[in-house]
Amino acid sequence: MKIAKTDIVFFLLASVTGGICYARFGADPVIDGTVKAGILLLEILPQLVAGLLIGGLVTRLVSREKVARWLGGASGLTGLMLATIAGLLTPGGPFTSFPMVYALWIAGADAGALIAFISAWSLLGFNRLIVWELPLLGVEFSLIRYAACLPLPILAGVLARWLTRWPAFQLKSPEAE
């Protein structure tokens, strides 16, 4: 099995927090915390597996090229709406989404569409809602939060288009960065 840098970071994080916990409160809270974490893991596992499968299946149905075509060029509010929908459907962590934003950028999507896309991914990501938020934070809270955030990615896209009037916010061509 390959051990990545991130794994070491999380290992250190768990050791340090566990160590501090032991030093301050003794062994009981450490055992208690470990048991709680184990129970939580078992609780989220069935949804996590389903979420991963959804992510894998969606990559078979929606190709990167197709997404880029829908958002290319000056696309108006329709483009921002499409970018929002594409973003909220994009599964996976930042290691999937930012490469997709980069691909859209190269394909000719404008700043507003890129911002709407990444905002929708981070605020409304459907995969995260199903795998993490519903099981951990509950249906009612998740629904309220989702409804409150629904219009925000489009707003961010409009703001981004407005901000690019100033040179400091103008994106250079992808190759120049």
């Binding site: 999380f10 290992f11 078979r60 993490w132």
Partner: protein
């Protein structure tokens, strides 16, 4: 079996059917392989992250902080909560367990929406690790400029939702 669990597995079946109709068993295998690839990276990280979050909530004074962002703390509470959210480390696997502790500690719903919003939008860890290296600093500046008010807005919209609907 609970509601969300049934929904996700129904979604798996529906998507699986579409993939099967388009690509046959080969597509299903490729989709599963892609899922297995991601789960391989999680197998060590996820238990450690849950463990770290579980210890973290015991040593960080979350209860006094929860009072700071209680249901009556209003706009200022939402603002503080969204800043706090931006500082939460890691992905949903670490930050959501911490969020649960805030909710149990007595934080208000609009403030919690601000907190999750701040975590979604500002995510310092993600910004440094992925966004800046891939997209460049100009993009980071543009995105932060465009998204600065979103967590606050999300919290305020939630105030309205909680006030006019039976939810909350």
């Amino acid at each position: 079996m609970n509601g969300p669990l049934i929904i996700v597995w129904v979604a798996v079946l529906i998507l699986g059917y579409f993939v099967w109709r388009r690509e046959g068993p080969r597509g299903l295998r490729a989709g599963a392989a892609s899922a297995a690839g991601i789960s391989k990276t999680l197998v060590l990280r996820l238990p450690l992250a849950l463990l770290a979050a579980s210890f973290l909530v015991q040593i960080v004074p979350i209860e006094p902080m929860s009072r700071l962002i209680g249901p009556t703390s209003g706009v200022i509470g939402i603002f503080i909560a969204s800043l706090l959210g931006g500082l939460l480390p890691g992905g949903p696997m670490t930050s959501f367990p911490i969020a649960i502790v805030f909710i149990e500690g007595g934080a208000g719903i609009p403030q919690m929406v601000g907190l999750i919003g701040g975590w979604s939008v500002f995510a310092l860890h993600r910004l440094l690790a992925y966004e800046a290296p891939i997209m460049g600093w100009r993009f980071v500046a543009l995105r932060l400029g465009s998204c600065l008010i979103l967590p606050l807005l999300a919290g305020l919209i939630t105030e309205v939702i909680v006030a006019v609907t039976p939810l909350g």
